[in-house]
Symmetry: C2
Subunit: 203 residues, 2 copies
DNA sequence: AGATTATAGTACCAATCAGTATCTTATTAT
DNA sequence: ATAATAAGATACTGATTGGTACTATAATCT
């Protein structure tokens, strides 16, 4: 049962470009907000027919779940990768700050975090979308928590607070910095706030 | 030219209840998000006709500006009043924390800050609404900044950072706490984060 | 009483929405 | 060749949107 793509299947061959649809949907949800985008708009932009869309995704819920997975694998993973570089605790904090403040393209900066936008309107979405939001949030928290535990065991960081709380604190501050930039706050202001907030964790 | 209400005016007397419309609009924008509410919905809930609404408010832009003013006078003012109590710096921080974490009714907690919601979608609104968002943000910042300057001059707080930056920091942390609660984060988590973040300012 | 004025509200408009019935087209199976 | 299968795409449905023409109503003014 090898999942071969050239296997001969009955019926008219598929020409629909799923990746294109997901990319169009992601960028539109990102710039306009997930609650402010219609399926008609996405279908028009992606140049597909609505019945085709419904065949592939079932509806908005399926599309949003797919978009969240795409966002996690392409964007959120970049933050998580910083934690795997085996730098010291303080160096890692610096890397996180500079990634959030300046290392992303302007479009991303002014759009903020797509996951945060989904989270803010969580109750408005379908079941699969809500579940996917929760899964990604949990995953992100877990990776941060494991990283904190590791730097604690290495002796690079000691704190009376639990790793859970510290992970939550760092994620919150990074999230806030991203949304502050998206709200038009000056780069330097956000950098000051983020640096000050994370300074309580440094030795 | 006394602004007498019983002055006899020509034409059919007004029966429309402007306060009711503003209150209906505010609570609906608050719970559903300002970009997810239609004028039809507001008119139906407030039991007024659409032509009547357009006569009074001109359109969505005018209504939103009125709602923002109402929100500022009824809710944002409560936070600002805490700064006028002439308590010490540390006591005032404690009061701010407990106001945000626990002293508001459950509906408000789960809805977050209406001003923050407007701010997040600022570019989607009309000119008057955008201007009003900016005015309220500026006012809020100014009140915090003046308070910081006062406690600095009293010698209750000293810090190498400018009053502007400190004011911005405190507002940001309070904003984040409110939105964290609205996102369903546990009360105790948010209290930990906020307390930790503000601890850098304490002596 | 009749003219004037201003508000209330019905009922409409074109545009857009989510979702689908239906028909066409392109391929494989027999 | 013909049947079976599956995808593409037009074109529709009923509901809702922002916005308004128009009419009915209730008051004052002359």
């Amino acid at each position: 049962m090898i999942n071969q793509k050239n296997i001969k299947k009955k019926g008219r061959p598929k020409t629909i470009d799923l990746e294109k649809i997901k990319n169009v949907a992601m960028s539109t949800y990102w710039s306009d907000g997930p609650t402010n985008v219609s399926l008609n708009e996405i279908c028009n932009k992606a140049k597909i027919s609505k019945p085709g869309f419904y065949r592939e995704f079932g509806g908005e819920d399926g599309l949003m779940k797919s978009v969240l997975l795409l966002y996690k694998n392409s964007l959120i993973q970049q933050i998580l990768n910083i934690l795997q570089l085996e730098k010291t605790f303080d160096e890692t904090l610096d890397l996180l700050i500079s990634y959030v403040i300046g290392n992303r393209d302007k479009e991303h900066i002014k759009n903020g975090c797509l996951l945060a936008k989904f989270r803010q309107s969580r109750s408005k979405f379908g079941k699969k979308t809500q579940e996917q939001i929760d899964i990604i949030l949990k995953e992100r928290h877990l990776v941060f928590e494991l990283w904190i535990k590791k730097v604690k065991s290495k002796g690079e960081f000691s704190c009376s607070l639990s790793s859970k709380v510290v992970a939550n604190y760092i994620i919150s501050q990074l999230d806030y910095a991203v949304s502050g930039l998206a709200n038009g706050e000056k780069n330097s202001n956000i950098k000051n706030i983020l640096t000050l907030a994370l300074s309580v964790l440094r030795t």
